[in-house]
């Protein structure tokens, strides 16, 4: 059914269609509307046979989820930013135990300075925690990915994060096609756990493992994700057959035929990138883009295939490996090992800084001239930075940095572009 609705609400509907039995909730912007929506459905009886548990922290949220999943029921939670960090220990634990929990990340920056707006620092911080990570480009895709995520998680006994850009997707009203319950039921069978806490068949879960088997346990976690490299495209194909639209998969190339420049990015910014690609293609520039949907497992082979004929690759990342540069670029470079081409890392959109078409066009043109630095901060206010560095050089007790920058800027509404 077609609906004009908020992204978060679309996700709540999608999760409800997956018939979870336990949902844990703890508020943090911009994820909150999703669990609020689900809470309402449970209270109203629309989502029957489901426990909605208001917990005291994100650490507890995921811990409750670990318990209910280990007891054999389908379990869901959602968080963002500081919340994901607060549950970090449980994030690793859930995957280490092989529990197929699905969690939405409403992507948001990590403080300090505290910032509620979108970037990918939160989910990127957990990229090696053993969860599958899928990044949605649109609200429709986010909705679809949740249905695929439960199926994938349960097939592999591996937790899945569905990452969607905070505000840009979670709070955007868009038209989405919400499938029917029978369609979802046909795609997503009831949960058959591999391990379950049951007095009829007692098992010990979470034993202490020493050097004699730890490597093997970790290898098997890696092996699971390697299998996911095959299952993710297969599930996307089956999804398309049943639901009539393409969603998910490992990567999504856009106008890459004959492209000399290819831009790689995750999430909603791909929409803007594609518009700029169209505009530049029209002007005769050989440019295309690739959206990475599955960041874990990282699709090395698919990316290599998609990028190997380009002359240059621009990786646009909404995150920063402080002291290094790119996070996504690292993987892209690995995918291209042995292939001679120019690679650029562009850090963009941190803490909600808008990524405009004008800025992207300027950036891609510079890239086309191979005039970019190895690492570029898109739309960096270099005057502001230079002034602060001068100020700090001039006085030992220079005070808090962020506050000094804001003071220098004066009262401005959230800066766009």
């Amino acid at each position: 059914m077609l609906k004009q609705t908020e992204g978060s609400h679309a996700i709540a509907e999608s999760v409800a269609l997956c018939r979870p039995k336990v949902i844990c909730a703890y508020p943090i912007t911009p994820q909150t509307h999703i669990v609020e929506g689900l809470g309402e459905m449970v209270k109203a009886g629309e989502l029957a046979d489901c426990e909605f548990i208001n917990v005291e922290s994100e650490f507890a949220a995921l811990s409750v989820a670990i318990g209910s999943s280990a007891a054999g029921v389908r379990t869901y939670t959602a968080t963002s930013s500081q919340g994901l960090l607060f549950m970090a220990e449980a994030v690793y634990n859930a995957s280490g135990l092989g529990l197929p929990i699905v969690m939405t990340i409403g992507n948001r920056a990590i403080g300090a300075p505290i910032n509620i707006w979108n970037d990918h620092s939160d989910s990127m911080s957990m990229r090696d925690a053993g969860w599958i990570q899928l990044y949605a480009e649109t609200n429709q895709e986010a909705l679809d990915l949740h249905i695929q995520a439960f199926r994938l998680a349960e097939e592999l006994s591996c937790p899945v994060m569905v990452c969607m850009d905070g505000f840009i997707l979670t709070h955007a009203y868009e038209r989405v096609d919400v499938p029917s319950q029978s369609e979802v039921d046909a795609f997503l069978p009831p949960f058959e756990p591999r391990q379950v806490l049951d007095p009829a068949e007692p098992v010990t879960i979470g034993a202490m493992v020493g050097p004699e088997a730890f490597t093997e346990v970790r290898y098997l976690a890696h092996h699971k994700q390697m299998r996911a490299l095959e299952r993710i495209p297969a599930l996307a194909a089956e999804f398309e057959r049943r639901f009539g639209r393409a969603s998910g998969g490992l990567i999504r190339p856009y106008r890459t035929e004959g492209a000399e420049t290819i831009v790689v990015a995750l999430g909603s910014v791909n929409g803007t990138i594609q518009e700029v690609v169209d505009e530049m293609r029209e002007a005769g520039v050989a440019i295309g883009s690739v959206a990475i949907t599955s960041f874990r497992p990282f699709p090395l082979a698919a990316l290599r295939e998609a990028l190997m004929h380009a002359k240059r690759v621009v990786v646009l990342e909404k995150c920063l490996a402080v002291g290094l540069g790119g996070i996504v670029s690292d993987g892209v470079r690995k995918a291209l090992s042995g292939i001679q081409l120019n690679g650029y890392t562009v850090v963009a959109g941190l803490g909600g800084r808008a990524i405009t078409r004008a800025s992207l066009k300027r950036l891609f043109e510079e890239a086309g001239r191979d005039a970019l630095e190895a690492v570029t901060f898109l739309d960096l206010n270099t005057d502001l930075v230079a002034h602060e560095l001068d100020r700090e050089a001039g006085t030992r007790r220079s005070g808090p940095t962020a506050e000094a920058l804001l003071k220098r800027l004066g009262t401005v509404s959230a800066r766009i572009g």
Partner: protein
């Protein structure tokens, strides 16, 4: 004919002889069909109070539920000594997730049981004092506050034993630990710190709270059994001496535990719905010094200059005796 006097209590121990009791009153551990939920072969130290307490507590819960128990264990000695991969001492479904989240994981298991329509399966969370009163305290309070259907068992050996005897918020004043050395003007743990989690549990007004001790195993079995009669959040805090951490003789575990109870330092009580409803009377008053002397962690108190601190500890016991009504007759 001359009458023979029946000796109900073994001299010095007050232990009730099982053969003198009606079958239904006999100890769970006396039954041939006891669950042995924590079976032999685990790697606890000799005389470990925690291993003893856990065996009695879980077997009592097993009897009370017809064997339908799931246990969630926090990281700590009990977890480590019972499950060195690929061995396990647990004969029940058991999960260890993290150090600080046992109560929350248990809430999740309980929620799942409700949804599966199998809430005759009862959920126990268990952890050491560190996992309960410190790092797991947020999750514990959350579980209490939501009144989730979980029995939480805290095995209180008054320090972080698994990591080598460091101070926790359950470490008593003056106790020497690896992080409260017996040095300086205030040797050992400082006075006036720590928290009383059983009373904090009572303040949550949950259905059932009790303290118990391995000194009184029948009482421990009774309290766990009683706890299983309630639905909702329940808490039993069990005093379990640790020979390694306390510097007591492994053979003295029960003796040490009993001295803690009989001196008034570890009051045994029960609370229902936020009200203390009973306390176990002290049967033979023991001076706190007799308790402290059995443990090397308190050795510095018996050096010259320790008198004031010894008196302070005695005063704490006296206060407990008044506060919890530990004097008088009755069991």
């Amino acid at each position: 004919m001359e009458m023979q006097t029946v000796r109900f209590y073994q001299t010095g121990t007050f232990t009730v002889g099982n053969r003198l009791l009606a079958p239904h009153e006999r100890s769970v551990q006396a039954e041939a069909q006891r669950a042995n939920a924590l079976t032999s072969g685990h790697r606890a130290c000799q005389g470990c109070g925690e291993a003893l307490g856990a065996r009695y507590a879980i077997d009592a819960a097993m009897r009370a539920t017809g064997g339908k128990i799931v246990a969630v264990n926090a990281t700590g000695c009990l977890e480590v000594f019972s499950t060195p991969y690929p061995e396990t001492s647990w004969q029940i479904p058991w999960i260890h997730s993290l150090f600080g989240n046992a109560a929350a994981v248990a809430s999740g298991v309980a929620a799942a049981m409700r949804r599966k329509g199998t809430d005759d399966v009862r959920v126990i969370a268990q952890g050491g004092d560190g996992g309960t009163t410190d790092i797991g305290f947020g999750c514990l309070s959350g579980m209490f506050e939501r009144n989730d259907d979980v029995l939480y068992l805290c095995y209180d050996n008054e320090a972080y034993m698994n990591t080598g005897v460091q101070r926790s918020s359950a470490t008593p004043p003056a106790a020497r630990t690896a992080t409260t050395p017996a040095m300086g003007p205030e040797p050992g743990n400082v006075f006036g710190t720590g928290k009383n989690v059983p009373l904090i549990a009572v303040a949550h007004q949950i259905p059932y709270v009790a303290t118990a001790s391995v000194a009184n195993l029948r009482d421990l079995e009774y309290k766990v059994t009683r706890a299983m009669e309630f639905r909702g959040a329940r808490y039993v805090h069990i005093h379990v001496p640790c020979p390694l951490g306390w510097g007591s003789a492994p053979a003295d575990t029960i003796k040490v535990a009993r001295a803690a109870v009989e001196s008034g330092l570890f009051p045994l009580f029960e609370a229902v719905n936020g009200e203390i409803v009973s306390s176990t009377k002290i049967r033979r008053r023991t001076p706190t010094a007799d308790y402290l002397r059995l443990q090397k962690r308190f050795a510095h108190l018996f050096q010259p200059g320790g008198e004031a601190r010894l008196a302070h500890i005695q005063a704490i016991a006296e206060r407990n005796i008044v506060k919890f009504g530990l004097e008088g007759t009755g069991a």
